[in-house]
Amino acid sequence: MKGSIEENVIRLTPTSDIVSSRVKELIYSAKGFIDSQVAYEQVVLDLENVKSIDSVGVTFIVGLYKSVFNLGKKFKIIRINNEISNLFKIMKLDEVMSIEA
């Protein structure tokens, strides 16, 4: 997963699908960013490279959202594809976190 910090925003960009075989690595690197000592206000999860997601992947995104929320920071998902966006709508996750296509 790629990560960058710019203007108070941490941007996390997974480089491939969010599936169970990759989630451990994703958790590890996401934690590295959000627990860093850098001042930031928002975490943006960029799903540009993500075509598919499995149930563990959904759990990871919810976990990431909770961790960020617990730190009092904002969380947003961007560049989500239609399929995943529909899934999140069915699950009403779009009522909990901010999601942009």
Binding site: S55, F60, N86
Partner: protein
């Protein structure tokens, strides 16, 4: 239990920040409403006050903040509706909190009951309303679901509630959720759903947690078939009666719950949330090493003073060391280093004192809110440029004057909503506070779209109050009438309200702004509104200034006011200086500016040196123009006397008139001085109390040479000299034509560099082939000429300072640069010491301030005076053999080239190229002028720009082609329009050649070619 003073002090500081944060948050809620983030911010601010106050045992503060927090908590959970009344209550409570914090020692005596009771009521009431509304909402929400169920039932569908464990039911079977939902949507419809995320706490534990997704589902499938179809255990599927109330279908929980499902009693739930709030707040503040520290202002002030003294010391050091620079080896880089570091140090220290103007602006939303209620007006406030920074001392002093002006705008400026509607304006009046940088100043505009200021009313009032006489008023310009507002004791308000119009104020506003070194201007338009413009300096401590001399005394003039320097040669005075109502005015690019002589304003006796006896005598001629004319009259009578003629030439230098063009706000005027010494950063020291009230000075400073100089106050000069200015309308025309001019002015790509002296030079990059870095040791000397090796042969290099009237120092620098020119037959390198920058800019070339062979003139680029080098003239000076000879050869041909070009820079360049090649050159400023020339003169070739005012190049060539006599005249376009389309249009219009600006060799080639073709044609 008030203990340690210092801790209490810190508490007050921190709590005040929080109170202000809460206030601005509440005001934002007022506009945007229901912004969760905003509510959270307010909540946290109040919560943190409560926490610290609790530590100090400040019970009343705790009690009030707790009540506020309760209401905010309801808002945060969307259980209470935000309305104006509630915001009012919270604002009032916040004010009370503020009062208690400011008077923390007496906070326990404060009666807070009227707030706490209201807050408690709001807390209860809000919840009741909220509950009712939730009911209504869920009814609405469930309507669509109801329709789906009804629809399903009609088609024989059954209703199921399915509980899906994401990892258990999908993950383990390698089914992706997307696939699963696609499948169920193919066999039925999802009516409603709910996702329980409460088991996932954070990233750490998410892998061991489960997401439960419950959904209502209608399908034709029988219950027995569903487990198979969905691959879910039968126990998780429950068939429902489709008549069940929709809200109940999902187990009383229709919405996704991020944290908790509340089934417990309300009280328990609040308690739990309170704990959560605490937890979140604590987590919000992880151990982060702060990247800022709080220091006391006095420390910053000390630093600033020291840095200022350091600047002074540096100036003195540089001045004192000037003559030893050559003698002490190695001192040069040390001095340069000290110079640079001092400047940086000063800048950084200044920065520490800079604060954003939002610190003042932020209090206005509240003020406007209160005012709009009080005055019964609807007002929208718009803040712009809140990030603009000013020195702390200025920010602090700005509060009162700005408040006064904003109150005035709301009270006197804006009309009542009904009246606005009658006038066809929107009901809501608008006040804009706008800060922006302009010319080294920060401008603050207070703009209202109200009725405008009634000038007649001001005049009447001024007469009534005997602030001006009838004849005065009759002869006043609009601006002058408006200035009456600033007279002490003036108030136009018909009714004196507690908002404004107490008869004191505007004069105090003006005095305060002037104390800050600023000025204030008014622009008003009947029916459309008024703008008050404050012009403020960025800082008060160190300012760049120009040192000028009059009658052997030196004065410092703040550069922020300086626009340009005009040098008038003897003989030009008659053309440039004119009279209006017996006063001298300077004609500058079509605009008349009033001028004064600095000596006259300051009350110094003007003197002149008698050319015959050498004595200094009092100069009785009062006008600049007179002096010149008389001088020439003398010179003519004594023209036979050689020694006098020489003397007269010498005194010509002294007789050059130097006029500083100053600008304050929209007012421009000229000040004539005897000499100009250059610029210096000066430290402003206040005037001693004995001369504090002298209008013309704003302070005093110690210059680099250790002497003192008074700092001139341009505004004071205006009032002392009683200068009159033209009206706005005329100004606007000038501005418009100026904008046009700017648009049309073309850009040059310039290389800025320095030689051994302090001057900055520029050369057009189109004439530079390359810039080589060389070492001092690479220079070979042959006689008095210098050479370097360049691409296998030797290249002569010259130092511009050897040929130009500029400062020259023995250079110690080891690394040098050589500018290798393009397009010259006998290349000579130009040796320079430092490359400053390359800039793409359109310059206003001044050929008068500094004119010498080898220089095209000067221009101001990035606030620095830059000398533009005329390369060919410079080479001619350095190598007259090659360059002057070339000129002689061609001169015989006597062909006339008409150059139509509006940009002075290119005019000058083209003329110098063409004259250098022996052509006679006629210059036209635009197409129309060119046509006129063509009617009156014999011209062989026309070289024309395309973008020109009045008549452009395309029109010019069309007109030439239409004219029988001129039809065959060769016309060459020389332009910066490089597009193919534009080129095509050029040829279509009738140009013979189309060339880009500006290549000397190509231009000369094209002219030669054009002439030959013409010869053949004839």
């Amino acid at each position: 239990m008030l203990q340690n003073e210092e801790f209490i002090h810190e508490f007050v500081e921190e709590a005040m920040t929080n109170v202000e944060k809460a206030e601005s948050g509440l005001l934002k809620l007022d506009d945007a409403s229901e912004d969760l983030e905003q509510i959270n911010t307010i909540f946290r601010a109040i919560h943190s006050i409560k926490g610290t106050a609790g530590f100090f045992g400040l019970k009343k503060i705790v009690e009030l903040s707790h009540s506020m927090e309760n209401v905010l908590g309801e808002l945060r959970n969307n259980r209470t509706k935000i309305d104006r009344e509630l915001i009012d209550l919270l604002l009032a409570s916040n004010d009370c909190l503020k009062g208690m914090i400011l008077e923390v020692g007496r906070s326990e005596e404060c009666d807070i009951s009227k707030y706490t009771i209201k807050l408690a009521a709001a807390f209860e009431r809000g919840r009741l309303i909220a509950e009712k509304q939730t009911d209504k909402l869920s009814d609405n929400d469930s309507t669509s679901e109801r329709i789906i169920i009804e629809e399903g039932r009609r088609h024989g569908h059954k209703l199921y509630r399915v509980r899906l464990l994401l990892n258990e039911d999908l993950g383990k079977k390698n089914i992706t959720p997307i696939k699963f939902f696609n499948k169920i949507q193919s066999i039925g419809n999802i009516v409603d759903s709910k996702t329980d995320l409460s088991s996932i706490e954070d990233l750490d534990k998410c892998l061991n947690s489960e997401i439960t997704f419950t959904f209502l589902f209608t399908t034709v499938l029988e219950k027995g078939l569903l487990p198979m179809a969905l691959d879910i255990p039968e126990s998780r599927i429950e068939e429902l009666d489709s008549n069940t109330k929709t809200e109940d279908l999902l187990n009383n929980a229709g919405k996704t719950q991020p944290f908790v499902q509340h089934k417990s009693g309300l009280h328990n739930q609040y308690k739990k949330e309170e704990q959560e709030k605490e937890a979140i707040d604590k987590k919000n503040q992880p151990v982060v090493f702060e990247d800022s520290v709080r220091v006391h202002v006095s420390l910053l002030n000390n630093l600033l003073n020291l840095a200022s003294e350091m600047v002074l010391g540096r100036n003195q050091l540089l001045r004192a060391m000037e003559r030893y620079r050559k003698d002490i080896s190695g001192i040069e880089p040390i001095l340069q280093n000290i110079d640079r570091i001092t400047t940086e140090l000063q800048e950084k220290v200044m920065q520490t004192r800079m604060q954003p103007i939002s610190n003042v602006f932020n209090k206005f939303p509240r003020i406007i809110r209160d005012l709009s209620r009080k005055l019964g007006k609807e007002i929208e406030l718009q803040l712009e440029g809140t990030e603009v920074e000013l020195d702390k001392s200025i920010i602090e002093a700005l509060g009162d004057p700005l408040t006064h002006l904003v109150r005035n705008a709301a009270d006197h400026g804006l009309e009542l909503p009904e009246i606005r509607e009658q006038k066809g304006k929107p009901r809501v009046g608008r006040i804009v506070l706008k800060a922006y940088h302009e010319g080294g100043y920060v401008n603050i505009d207070i703009v209202d779209d109200g009725a405008g200021i009634n000038l007649e009313k001001i005049k009447k009032k001024a007469l009534e109050k005997e602030l001006a006489s009838k004849s005065d008023v009759a002869s006043m310009s609009d601006q002058e009438v408006l200035q009456l507002l600033f007279k002490p004791g003036f108030s136009t308000a018909e009714r004196i309200t507690d908002v404004s119009g107490r008869g004191v104020g505007m004069d105090v506003v003006k005095t305060n702004i002037e104390k800050l070194g600023g000025t204030i201007e008014i622009f008003t338009s009947a029916g459309a509104g008024t703008t008050f413009r404050l012009l403020l300096p960025l800082t008060l401590a160190i300012i760049p200034s120009l040192i000028v001399e009059v009658e052997k005394q030196k004065f410092a003039l703040p550069q922020a006011n300086l626009q340009e320097i005009v040098r008038i040669r003897p003989g030009e005075a008659a053309r440039k200086i004119e009279y209006v109502h017996n006063s001298e005015v300077l004609r500058l690019r079509g605009r008349l500016l009033p001028i004064v002589h600095l000596a006259d304003v300051l009350g110094l006796v003007r003197t002149y040196k008698d050319p015959l006896t050498g004595e200094t005598k009092e100069d009785r001629r009062k006008t600049l123009y007179d002096r010149r004319r008389m001088h020439f009259a003398n010179a003519e009578t004594d023209i036979s006397n050689d020694s006098y003629a020489i003397e007269s030439r010498r005194s010509d230098l002294n007789n050059i008139i130097r006029i500083l063009v100053l600008k304050i706000g929209s007012r421009r005027f000229g000040v004539a001085v005897d000499a100009i010494h250059g610029s210096e950063e000066i430290l402003v020291k206040p005037l001693s109390k004995y001369i504090k009230n002298s209008k013309c000075y704003s302070g005093v400073t110690i210059m680099g040479d250790g002497k003192t100089a008074m700092i001139l106050d341009p505004d004071g000069i205006i009032s002392k000299a009683n200068l009159r200015f033209v009206e706005d309308g005329e100004d606007k025309i000038t501005i418009e034509s100026k904008e046009n001019e700017e648009r049309l002015r073309e850009q040059q790509n310039l290389l800025l560099f320095k030689c051994s002296g302090p001057e900055t030079f520029a050369i057009d990059l189109s004439m530079v082939s390359r810039v080589e870095e060389i070492k001092r040791a690479d220079i070979d000397k042959v006689g008095d000429k210098e050479f370097i090796k360049f691409r296998g042969s030797s290249l002569r290099v010259i130092r511009p300072e050897d040929y130009l009237p500029v400062a020259k120092h023995e250079s110690m620098q080891d690394r040098l640069y050589v500018i290798v020119p393009k397009l010259v037959k006998h290349p000579i390198g130009i040796l320079i010491e430092k490359i400053d920058d390359t800039v793409l800019t359109s310059i206003r070339l001044n050929e008068e301030v500094l004119s010498a062979k080898g220089l095209m003139g000067s221009a101001i680029i990035n606030k620095t005076m830059v000398l533009l080098i005329n390369m060919y003239e410079l080479f001619e000076l350095a190598d007259p053999h090659h360059y002057a000879a070339a000129l002689g050869r061609k001169a015989r041909e006597e062909k006339v080239v008409l150059v139509a070009e509006d940009t002075p820079f290119f005019q000058r360049m083209e003329r110098s190229y063409l004259e250098g090649a022996g052509y006679k050159v006629l210059l036209a400023q635009n197409g129309r002028e060119a046509l006129q020339f063509l009617q009156e003169n014999k011209v062989d070739v026309v070289v024309s720009d395309i973008n020109m005012p009045v008549l452009d190049g395309l029109e010019l060539v069309r007109k030439i082609r239409e004219d029988d006599r001129l039809r065959n005249l060769p016309v060459i376009a020389v332009t910066s329009l490089t597009g193919e389309q534009q080129k095509k249009a050029g040829f279509e219009a009738g140009f013979d050649f189309y060339e880009f600006k500006l290549d000397r060799a190509v231009l000369l080639d094209r002219i030669e070619q054009a002439l030959q073709e013409r010869r053949r044609a004839v």
